[in-house]
């Protein structure tokens, strides 16, 4: 039993719903009690979808449990098949139905329905949403394609050359409730078509059963989101011999690597190395003098595996930030996240307790947080600017405008989205510096709420930052801050003040000094920089 106040991922059947709702012609009968329908609102409210997810809930009640719940399942399966006439039917159960063991999949298989029926077994007490999405996509694809698996995989990835056509790839992994998937697909399609590469099937997002059946016709699969598509890509490789690209094109370097990988796999001449510089504004924006102040900014990164790893690379290699924390809630992605962290001299935080993430964030004292919506809230409490890079999805993460993360345009979007909060961080600092000027008498509302700069004579901002930023700190014991020490500390930007305070105190303890004056602060600074 695990105490959970908030969770990054839903149960695995929500992952299955993401696959069903992403596709057309696929219906999902979910053996579940009343109340599990809450998951519909993730699609209709958070993603603002104008269609209900294609899910029929069997809605069993306590009084059904004594009787024949199997009959109830069959009735709902039949009704769903008759009413929606899907091209394929997914049948599975939510956590409660798993306990009563009605085997809804087997029941549906035995009903002689005209469409393919795919049974989903998603262990609700050990697995989570992304795993459920991946497993569902895999089972559906396998169920539809297993009859056409050749005895020996014989795939010629360069067949396009002698067939006199452009090379063709599938984009696998984008789904509803995935971070910016809708826009990433458009951007990657554009990117590939610039290089004369056609996109065959995009799945699951927007795909139908007939598209899944066409998957083997591609020369190459592109695994856009390994959380959802890696197991499917591997299966297609093992059984049909179709290789897949593994680089996720988020950021300048990764987009370049992605193009090189895809070109190499397809037997094409690799693209010009300068393409990114020509196609994206991001590299020049990062080089321009205005960006000098970004150098060494301390960044804390937390999200799903794909986006956290991508962010770490962009931050350290393309923006000149210092990554001071890297982690993910995706246990399935723990290995690559750990490797990425190790490269940066960090130990990855693999954790799904948001309070532990907040504590790690406070400890790392970053100047910028890249995280999920939850880290945005934690960062707000700590008074640190934040940009959102990953699911779980919030209505704000589905902007009306085109806003990809992938490809050259994605790099532009990322530059704006990650640097703007920092500019505001600087702005907060300026407001703090000038708060005693008469122009600020009316009080300027900070986007950080009361945690940032405030009007003259209002010290609440700094106080609350101190209070929340230092909550995990050990009691200062006998240490005394002198008036000039406190005054010096106040000159330091609020978002690093907690860190400086802690450093000064631990330095004072190390050297056995009982008072912290401005001199101690400078000593500590020299000590920690050395």
């Amino acid at each position: 039993m695990e105490l959970t106040l908030w969770t990054y991922e839903g149960p695995p059947h929500v992952g299955a719903m993401r696959i069903a709702a992403s596709m057309h012609g696929v219906h999902y009968v979910l053996h579940a009690p009343q109340g599990d329908t809450y998951a519909d609102l993730l699609f209709t409210m958070i993603e603002r979808r104008g269609q209900r997810p294609p899910v029929t809930y069997t809605t069993f009640q306590a009084r059904d449990l004594g009787g024949d719940t199997a009959e109830l399942v069959k009735r709902h399966v039949q009704e769903a098949a008759d009413r929606f006439q899907p091209d394929a039917l997914l049948v599975g159960e939510s956590c409660t139905a798993e306990l009563i063991q009605d085997q809804p999949g087997a029941l549906a298989q035995g009903m002689g329905l005209p469409m393919p029926v795919v049974t989903l077994e998603l262990p609700a007490y050990s697995k989570k949403e992304n795993w459920g999405a991946s497993e569902t996509f895999y089972q559906l694809m396998r169920g539809l394609l297993k009859q056409s698996v050749p005895p020996q995989p014989s795939h010629d990835v360069q067949a396009w050359k002698h067939e006199g056509r452009r090379p063709r790839v599938n984009l696998l992994g984008p789904s509803l409730l995935g971070f910016r998937c809708r826009d990433d697909v458009l951007e990657v399609q554009r990117l590939l078509s610039l290089h004369g590469i056609d996109v065959g099937v995009v799945a699951p997002l927007g795909a139908g059963v007939e598209d899944i059946l066409r998957l083997p016709q591609a020369d190459l699969n592109v695994c856009l989101y390994p959380e959802v598509a890696e197991s499917s890509c591997s299966w297609l490789e093992r059984n049909f011999g179709i290789p897949f690209s593994k680089t996720v094109p988020i950021g300048m370097g990764a987009t370049h690597d992605f193009l090189v990988e895809v070109h190499a796999l397809l037997g094409m001449t690799p693209p010009e190395a300068a393409e990114g510089y020509q196609r994206s504004r991001m590299p020049w924006y990062s080089e321009s003098v205005d960006s000098t102040y970004l150098t060494g900014k301390r960044v804390f990164i937390f999200g799903d595996g794909t986006h956290a790893i991508a962010a770490a690379r962009i931050c350290s290699e393309e923006l000149g930030f210092t990554v001071v924390g890297l982690g993910s809630y995706s246990r399935e992605m723990a290995r690559p996240v750990r490797a990425a962290a190790k490269k940066l001299g960090l130990e990855a935080l693999i954790c799904d307790d948001y309070l532990a993430v907040e504590a790690a964030m406070a400890e790392a004292a970053p100047e910028l947080v890249l995280g999920t919506q939850m880290e945005r809230h934690s960062a707000k409490r700590l008074g640190i600017p934040c940009a959102v890079i990953s699911t779980p999805m919030h209505v704000q993460d589905v902007p009306a405008r085109l806003s990809p993360q992938m490809g050259w345009e994605g790099a532009n979007v990322i530059f704006d989205a990650w640097v703007h909060p920092l500019m505001m961080g600087l702005e907060e600092h300026l407001i703090g510096m000038f708060r005693h000027d008469f122009e600020f008498v009316d009080g300027h509302q900070s986007h950080l709420g009361h945690a940032g700069g405030a009007g003259a004579g209002n010290n609440h901002g700094t106080e609350s930052v101190r209070a929340s930023g230092c909550q995990d700190e050990a009691p200062s014991g006998q240490l005394i801050w002198t008036a000039d020490g406190e005054a010096e500390l106040k000159k330091i930007p609020f978002f690093v003040r907690g860190k400086v305070r802690r450093n000064a105190e631990s330095y004072a303890r190390t050297v056995g000094c009982k008072e912290i004056s401005s001199e101690t602060l400078y000593d500590a600074k020299a000590h920690y920089k050395a």
Partner: protein, 435 residues
């Protein structure tokens, strides 16, 4: 498969039907979203699955809290394998939680579908923890599971769990039962005192440790229509539960207050002197909304149990026509006053087959549909204006002074459509380019 229900001829003239099938409603756990705000010294610990945790956070948008006062003890495969372990584990989680939140005075252990199915005995767990905590924290239990409860019924369970703990007192008092917004509660207490009823208490109270007394001097007014079990237990404790329409709209609220006034023998003339001007003011507040709503056709899907009082208000005070009124379940005795005020032949459907009900929505071409969050945008996308019902359990809508605000919740979506529809869906241009 809508089946007619036999009706006692003298009670009601509504056309009562029953339906079953796939439902689109929340389970009782959802009530925690407003209950925890009412009692800031209480913690709601759901014993359930990741689905339960995900449900509450999705319904509540909990990220704004540093640390919410509700959480889920998520069952793992190990807990399912051995119930003895599950009890030990629950004790451990409860202890951890209380250590972390020393300000908590009442811990609600909330049963869920999985905990009910594996028959994890939360009453025994509560008893054990109560012994261990020796009064420092009170531990009670109830079920919010979807296999037994619908949405607002969770509040009934939570309040029913508190009734045995209420101190006994024979003193004369009015007890308002059901969560109210604090400001609405203050206002109602003020109005009751103007009527001459001085001792007014509330269940749930604002602090879980300050439970109101109950006894034969207690008169209960239910503020919400979903408190069947709580009402029964209060009756068992000697209280009188008044029959009245529920305090939604000017008429309902007035009748509701008059029921209390009669029970406390407040002089009729002074009751009129207090209520007449309030009602007149409410009519003024209602007028602009009535203008929008009158003659419009409304279809209410089942969700919160507020559907019947709302339908009564929307018909009688706002002039709306009722296409169909859905209710998750119907307690005819508790709803008798409401049913009696509905126009003859109103179609009231208990239970749900969501697909068939949506077929009827489409066929009935209503002007406004009241529905849950899963259905609202899909209906809007079909061109059907909606009002999401969850807002009705979060907004201060009770009492005579809120009648205008309540009507506004329904007139706003219609008004909005009227404002933006033609610009967003241009027909032929009124502005020729080469005039």
């Amino acid at each position: 498969m809508v089946r007619p229900v036999p009706v006692d001829a003298d009670v009601m003239s509504a056309n009562l039907l029953k339906e079953s099938g796939p439902r689109e409603v929340f389970c009782g756990l959802t009530s925690i979203v407003w209950l925890h705000r009412r009692m800031p010294d209480a913690f709601f610990l759901v014993v359930g699955s990741r689905t339960c945790a995900h449900l509450i956070q999705s319904a509540a948008g909990v990220m704004i809290f540093a640390e919410p006062r509700f959480g889920t003890a998520i069952l793992s495969e190990r807990d399912l394998a051995g119930l003895a372990d599950a009890h030990d584990e629950l004790d451990r989680v409860a202890r951890e939680l209380l250590m972390r939140r020393p300000e908590i005075r009442t811990l609600f252990l909330v049963g869920s579908c999985p905990s009910e199915v594996i028959k994890l005995d939360l009453a025994r767990a509560a008893e054990r923890l109560n012994e261990e905590l020796q009064g420092r924290v009170r531990v009670v239990n109830y079920s919010g599971s979807g296999i037994e409860t619908t949405f607002t019924q969770g509040e009934d369970g939570a309040l029913a769990a508190l009734v045995p703990l209420l101190p006994a007192s024979e003193s004369r008092q009015l007890l308002l039962v059901g969560t109210l917004a604090d400001a609405v509660e203050d206002r109602l207490i003020h109005l009751f005192s103007k009527l001459g009823i001085e001792s007014v208490r509330s269940l749930p109270p604002r602090q879980s440790s300050e439970l109101p007394p109950v006894g034969s001097g207690t008169t209960v007014l239910l503020t919400q229509p979903f408190l069947t079990e709580t009402a029964r237990l209060l009756r068992d404790r000697g209280a009188t539960v008044l029959k009245a329409p529920f305090p939604l709209g000017a008429e309902g609220s007035r009748r509701w207050m008059e029921a209390a006034a009669a029970d406390f023998h407040c002089p009729e003339a002074s009751v009129r002197a207090v209520l007449d001007p309030l009602e007149a003011r409410a009519r003024i507040a209602l007028a602009p909304h009535r203008e929008v709503l009158a003659g419009k056709r409304i279809f209410l899907l089942p969700e919160s149990q507020l559907e019947l009082p709302l339908a009564r208000f929307l018909h009688r005070e706002c002039g709306m026509d009722l296409v169909e009124v859905g209710v998750p379940y119907l307690n005819r005795e508790q709803m008798a006053e409401e049913l009696a005020l509905l126009p003859d032949g109103t179609t009231v459907v208990e239970g749900q087959h969501v697909e068939r009900q949506l077929d009827r929505v489409r066929a009935g071409h209503p002007d406004l549909v009241v529905c849950g969050m899963g259905l609202a945008n899909p209906l809007e996308a079909e061109g059907i204006t909606t009002k999401w019902s969850i807002e009705l359990v979060f907004s201060p809508i009770h009492g005579i002074d809120q009648a205008g605000d309540l009507a506004e919740l329904f007139s706003r979506p219609l008004h909005r459509r009227q404002l933006i529809h033609s610009a967003l869906h241009p027909q032929a241009s009124d502005h020729p380019v080469h005039a």
